[in-house]
Symmetry: C2
Subunit: 347 residues, 2 copies
């Protein structure tokens, strides 16, 4: 028996996940009894297809990377658009990895809602739906006895949500502080070694970390959306990104970084959440951090999150120099968690 | 209905756990439906007792802390020694927190084996049995369909074993490096600020971190036993502490630390494990670490562990300035994990 999976969005992350599934198929079958069959893929530029018999996933990856259309993959049937694909395919798990729309978490939220309404478990690596619609989507999933998982939406595959849910039972999260955005880290690390803001930005773009339009990172939106996702899930908040006091890194100068370095410190864009009297409050801004602190030690593309808890004090999780494979692993981690929690999936 | 629990060892950690259970009893009842009844306690100096009706846990804590005997607690029956207590009580979960014997993990291993043989789940905060007898104890627990959990044995309540088991499905641990011993951290941190080895050791003893006989920490045995526990559980090893190449911190001088500081580095006692051609290999020794690295940023009583994995690259977990309450939380975390995995416990 196979678990029937489908993809809404088939970009770098989804394709890296497809490769991991392929590379590790014998391990997954032997260790977990897990076999997957791809019954739908929706893309923005390479068409949308379904197949009851299963689409050859590696062939689909190959077609897309050569710039071809998915419909050329043998056995695939045309679907009009992503909603039609979700509607037509009979997937048990949908992997949602469409690009983030900053304003409302769409169209990802609509796709996820539609999949949950049709009885599919959903895995997303998209922080938008968590920041904009977590409570509604979670209620819909719970009501339909389905899993809705999103470990990849913050800090790639490093366990953040699962850490609290599965490893800190009985604990309440009172606050957090995180260095969560790689582009601003690379820029600030570059400026520390004397490069200009612009040169450092170009370096981040060359590394493929920063988007062509990096304003989203530089102005703190990416860190803000992640902070809201963390607060909504871990602290029971129901915030939206515009609710957050947000300052980006445009005001940080090489002189600021030098003067910080003179005192054994550095500057990083920090996202903080804390339980105030009126509920969780968030702030995203550049902070001066001691080099010998967990957050101050974060360099380059690495990320770190410190959790303040009632029973377990302060603990931190860090991921060192992650790449697209780590985000892709988040999808696999979520799939295995769903499968381990309910192996009846494949019936 | 109540979960019947018993204690083998009733020192600082067990008593802090007893206080947490008491403080949070309404939260545990409301959020988890979990109520506990203490049916046995075994100590070295305050006697051993059982009670079918339940021992008042706070009264037991109070008697022990005043230097009195447990038999004075109303309703308690005398048991000859810890094995007799385990034999006589009808606990469903045994909390084993007896002092560590470095040479063989005894008597903890015998107590755990006896409890598992009698159908009890076992929670321990004791690294000895994990370093000396993990494979046998785990097989015994599995064979009897019981849980054997030990999150508190390394890095207190910070999830280390649970992190891999519950948050990194499908991942293989290829290696690890950790700063795992608080006494040597405090000594080295003290020497960095110019205090002598002896002064720094006295400070660690005043803080209640180091034992009166701190050789066990200083010569690297504590870090070694923890490294073996990590390798045996996370990497499938079957090593014993004497198998490890071990160097303590006696050779580290203030000059070494100053010369490290001149290059933006520090020295810490690091435990490393790596998959070699002949299986996992361990080494414990002082290492020079960049201040801006995850392990180099560890100060005072804090601990950190970096895991190298196949699918998730490098991730780290850090605990900041833990105290006895964090180790006590490990016992509660293990109890809740056992209970959540099988609520039929309380039938």
């Amino acid at each position: 028996m196979h678990v029937r999976i489908a993809f809404a969005g088939f970009g770098n992350v989804a394709r890296a996940f497809a490769r991991i599934l392929n590379e590790h198929q014998s391990r997954l079958a032997e260790d977990y009894g897990l076999r997957c069959k791809t019954v739908g893929i929706a893309t923005a530029r390479h068409g949308c297809v379904t197949s009851a018999d299963g689409i050859d996933l590696l062939q689909a990856v190959d077609r897309v990377e050569r710039g071809n259309q998915l419909i050329e993959v043998p056995g695939s049937l045309h679907a009009e658009d992503p909603p039609a694909m979700i509607n037509d395919c009979s997937a048990q798990v949908l992997f949602e990895t469409t690009p983030l729309n900053l304003n409302a978490g769409e169209p990802a939220t609509t796709y996820i809602r539609s999949a949950l309404a049709r009885g599919m478990h959903v895995v997303t690596a998209n922080k938008g739906p968590i920041a904009f619609a977590y409570r509604q989507l979670k209620a819909l999933a719970d009501g339909n006895r389905l899993s809705f998982r999103f470990e990849g939406s913050v800090m790639d595959g490093a366990p953040v949500f699962n850490l609290v849910e599965r490893c800190l039972p009985g604990v309440r999260v009172l606050g957090f502080s995180g260095v969560l955005n790689s582009t601003t880290n690379i820029i600030l690390t570059g400026m520390e070694s004397g490069r200009s803001f612009e040169e450092s930005l170009v370096q981040a773009q060359r590394l493929g970390i920063a988007e062509a339009n990096a304003d989203y990172d530089i102005d703190g939106w990416d860190a803000t959306v992640k902070a809201v996702a963390l607060a909504n899930v871990l602290m029971g908040a129901d915030l939206r990104p515009p609710d957050v006091a947000r300052t980006g890194i445009r005001g940080v100068t090489i002189e600021d970084l030098r003067s910080a370095a003179d005192t054994g410190a550095t500057i990083r864009l920090v996202a903080r959440g804390r339980l105030g009297s009126g509920g969780p409050q968030l702030i995203v801004e550049p902070e001066r951090l001691s080099l010998g602190s967990t957050l101050g030690a974060v360099r380059g593309t690495s990320n770190a999150l410190v959790l303040e808890t009632d029973l377990m004090g302060e603990i931190a999780i860090c991921e060192n120099e992650p790449g697209v494979r780590q985000t892709a692993y988040a999808l696999m981690s979520d799939l295995l968690t769903i499968y381990n929690d309910g192996p009846e999936l494949c019936v």
